[in-house]
């Protein structure tokens, strides 16, 4: 009878102490003179030292098996760590993808040697990872991948092609590449794809940074030119790449980053307007607060279900869709509210953060599936497809 499942979560007893521990760590270890607008984009801010210090505390790979360098903490503890890092705007860009996607994928699909070789390094904050899914002119249609991997007579693979959209690739050590291993089939467009786990020093792999909309180099093009890799670089099963990637994307859907990735702007707004702003500003802040509180409850609830081993697939898509809408609506809303006296050319934390997010937020909906795809999942959950 019930349409969606959003049972409230009771956080386990250890959480307040753990949260205090994280906050004390951040108070001590956050870089000084850290520009406010970077906080609003902190999951792309690369700070290898900071990531290593997190690794030292056991705060990367928190819930992975100890066998592979993990720490077997609870999923909710990991959730709390992530929300605290994001709310503080900590520079988590170096290890973010590895912790969130790459290592989980290796643990799920990788061979024993892949697990032993890579996962502990990721957990220590020593190996950083990036994603090699999108291609020029492919966008979110992963089935149209044209990078090819060809099996050589000796069992090795030869990869040719080009990837794009790979966050921080130029400072990464590992990449999972989605490539076509058998010809495209118009009837089953998702067949014939496989994943490969590569190190960046592989000959024939070349990275070229792209300067993005706001002048930073978070994105890259990666070229594979007769890049030959060992048979054991195949991740998981040949031809099952699509299925594996889909599972990865769904891992991407459930976290606090869904509504917190640019929360620094709201914090800046609160700082700028002070304790008793005018009525219309106050009410706008009230509405944003209701939305943030609700999104956190939804996101927590999904985390709680995941921690219990359930798979709230549709609920996770809902949180992501609403989170996207929220994050995309906030910058223009703030701009429309900001006092006449606040001009964008002013050199203030608030203005720089606003300027950055006005420009970057329209593409937030790309993270982990476009709006249409997410709503397609929800529609299917409602029985419409």
């Amino acid at each position: 009878m019930q349409t969606f499942h959003f049972d409230p979560v009771d956080l386990p007893p250890g959480i307040p102490a753990f949260r205090a521990e994280i906050r004390a760590f951040l108070a001590r270890e956050m870089p000084r003179d850290y520009p406010a607008e970077q906080k609003a984009n902190c999951w792309t801010v690369y700070d290898a030292d900071f990531s290593r210090r997190l690794g030292e505390r056991g705060w990367i790979g928190m819930h992975w098996s100890k066998t592979y360098g993990g720490h077997e903490r609870s999923a909710l503890e990991r959730y709390v760590l992530m929300e605290e890092l994001l709310a503080a705007g900590a520079p988590v860009g170096a290890h973010w993808i590895g912790d969130r996607q790459t290592a989980p994928a290796i643990l799920r699909y990788g061979s024993e040697s892949q697990k032993q070789r890579h996962v502990p390094r990721i957990a220590r904050g020593e190996a950083f990872c990036c994603i090699g899914m999108s291609e020029p002119n492919a966008g979110s249609d992963l089935a149209s991948v044209r990078t090819r991997a060809e099996r050589l007579p000796d069992g090795r693979w030869k990869i040719n092609g080009q990837k794009i959209w790979t966050t921080l690739a130029h400072r990464s050590h590992l990449i999972i590449v989605l490539a076509r291993t058998s010809p495209a089939d118009e009837k089953n467009r998702h067949a014939g794809l496989s994943q490969f786990l590569l190190e960046f020093d592989t000959p024939g792999l070349r990275v070229q940074p792209i300067v993005d909309l706001v002048g930073a180099k978070h994105f890259n093009e990666i070229f594979f030119e007769d890049c030959i890799v060992d048979a054991e670089c195949l991740l998981g099963t040949e031809g099952q790449g699509w299925k594996q990637v889909t599972a990865e994307l769904s891992l991407e859907r459930s976290g606090p980053e869904r509504y917190l990735s640019s929360i620094a702007l709201f914090f800046e707004l609160l700082r700028v307007v002070g304790p008793s702003p005018s009525e219309s500003v106050r009410q706008a802040i009230g509405r944003v607060t209701a939305e943030i509180w609700t999104l956190r409850q939804m996101s927590l609830s999904v985390a709680g279900q995941l921690a219990r081993g359930e798979d709230p697939y549709v609920e996770a898509a809902i949180v992501k869709d609403l989170g996207n809408v929220f994050e995309q609506a906030l910058p223009p809303l703030v701009q429309a509210l900001a006092d006449d006296g606040i001009h964008l050319e002013q050199d203030s934390d608030f203005v720089r953060t606003l300027a950055l997010l006005l420009q970057t937020s329209p593409s937030f909906s790309l993270r982990g599936g476009t709006r249409e795809i997410l709503r397609g999942i929800i529609a299917r959950g409602l029985g419409l497809r």
């Binding site: 009878m1 019930q2 349409t3 969606f4 959003f6 049972d7 409230p8 979560v9 009771d10 956080l11 386990p12 007893p13 250890g14 959480i15 307040p16 949260r19 929300e83 709310a87 929360i263 709201f266 914090f267 609160l270 700082r271 307007v273 002070g274 304790p275 008793s276 702003p277 009525e279 106050r282 009410q283 706008a284 802040i285 009230g286 509405r287 607060t289 209701a290 939305e291 509180w293 609700t294 956190r296 409850q297 939804m298 927590l300 609830s301 609920e315 809902i318 869709d321 609403l322 249409e372 997410l374 709503r375 397609g376 929800i378 529609a379 959950g381 409602l382 029985g383 419409l384 497809r385």
Partner: protein, 341 residues
């Protein structure tokens, strides 16, 4: 949801569903009311020691969700709250339907034994045996039959919202520590009813989109309709989740922040949801919309009742602005507190 609460919710759901399908009535459903008494629902929130069922707001939320889903015409939400507040104030629990007045103009007289004034917009006032009202410092119980005048009025959904005038009427009163609690609990109850009604409107719209054919296929197969219904679903999910979290908070203690946020979020959901529901139904003429309006007319009414968007946005915004950079610490502390108890 705990197993016990799930059973309670399912039982209530069946009861209300039967009531709706067997008799489509406007106004007060006396027979159904009797059945809810047998289930202990009107006194759900009163302690067992006082003759109540000793339930909490998680229970109440589940029951009121079902009530809102089926749009059943009884003052169950109001009676539940009145029973809780009466128990808090040490007043004896009245039996018959008891309603709740949150808009009170008037004062106690003669050492709290008499009341002079008006109770405005009392839900099902004409059907209530007693009405519980809060005046500064006191919780007051009044008998309907002691009212000098009773003016019938209705909300958009034809639910009675009556004005009662009392002139030196006998009153029973006890201490009320928190003058805003009645309004907060009414808002919370409306959240639960709104969640249920939103869910019902969603079900009706999806079902309609699956069966209704246009341009040669079911309208639910058009991408634009699917995307709209998906957004509708997401809004319903947000309202439901916010409501359940606020109920949980009310079970634990002070829930004023969570209730404000939940009511505001529910109100925001109503706008998109009702408009999408009617647009999806639009092509049909009015026969099926008759059924849909059982949900949407209530939703429009309940958006105003228990505090409209502007009112709660103001309360919430003022509270947050006053605390400035404590926003995140406050937000997390509310849920962490649960793990400390």
């Amino acid at each position: 949801m705990s197993e016990q609460r799930q059973i309670l919710a399912d039982t209530a759901d069946r009861l209300f569903a039967d009531a709706v399908t067997s008799r489509r009535i406007e106004g007060f459903d006396a027979k159904l009311w009797q059945q809810t008494i047998e289930m202990g629902l009107p006194l759900l929130l009163a302690p067992e020691a006082d003759g109540g069922a000793g339930g909490d707001w998680d229970d109440a939320g589940a029951v009121l969700h079902a009530l809102g889903h089926h749009g059943v015409p009884i003052p169950l939400a109001e009676n539940m709250i009145a029973a809780q507040l009466a128990a808090d104030a040490g007043l004896e629990l009245p039996s018959g339907p008891v309603s709740l007045a949150t808009r009170v103009e008037g004062a106690l007289q003669q050492a709290g034994t008499r009341f002079d004034g008006k109770l405005l917009g009392v839900p099902w006032g004409r059907h209530a045996d007693a009405i519980l009202a809060v005046v500064p410092g006191h919780t007051v119980l009044l008998r309907r039959t002691d009212a000098t005048s009773l003016r019938h009025a209705h909300n958009l959904a034809d639910e009675p919202r009556d004005d009662l005038i009392f002139d030196n009427a006998p009153a029973v009163c006890g201490p009320a520590s928190d003058g805003t609690q009645a309004s907060h609990l009414l808002a919370l109850a409306r959240c639960a009813q709104i969640s249920g009604a939103l869910e019902a409107a969603l079900h009706k719209s999806v079902e309609y989109a699956q069966t209704r054919k246009q341009f040669g296929r079911a309208i639910g197969q058009f991408q634009a309709v699917q995307q709209q219904l998906a957004q509708f679903g997401a809004e319903v999910a947000a309202a439901m989740c916010a409501t359940r979290a606020a109920c949980r908070a009310a079970t634990r203690g002070d829930a004023s922040f969570q209730i404000a946020a939940a009511k505001l979020r529910c109100n925001l959901a109503i706008g998109f949801a009702t408009s999408t529901a009617h647009q999806v139904h639009a092509a049909i003429g009015f026969t099926r919309e008759f059924d849909l309006r059982q949900s949407t007319q209530r939703l429009w009414s309940w958006r105003t009742e228990g505090g409209n968007d502007r009112a709660w946005a103001d309360v919430l915004g003022a509270r947050v602005c006053a605390r400035g950079d404590q926003f995140w610490a406050d937000l997390t502390a509310r849920d962490d507190a649960v793990s400390l108890t």
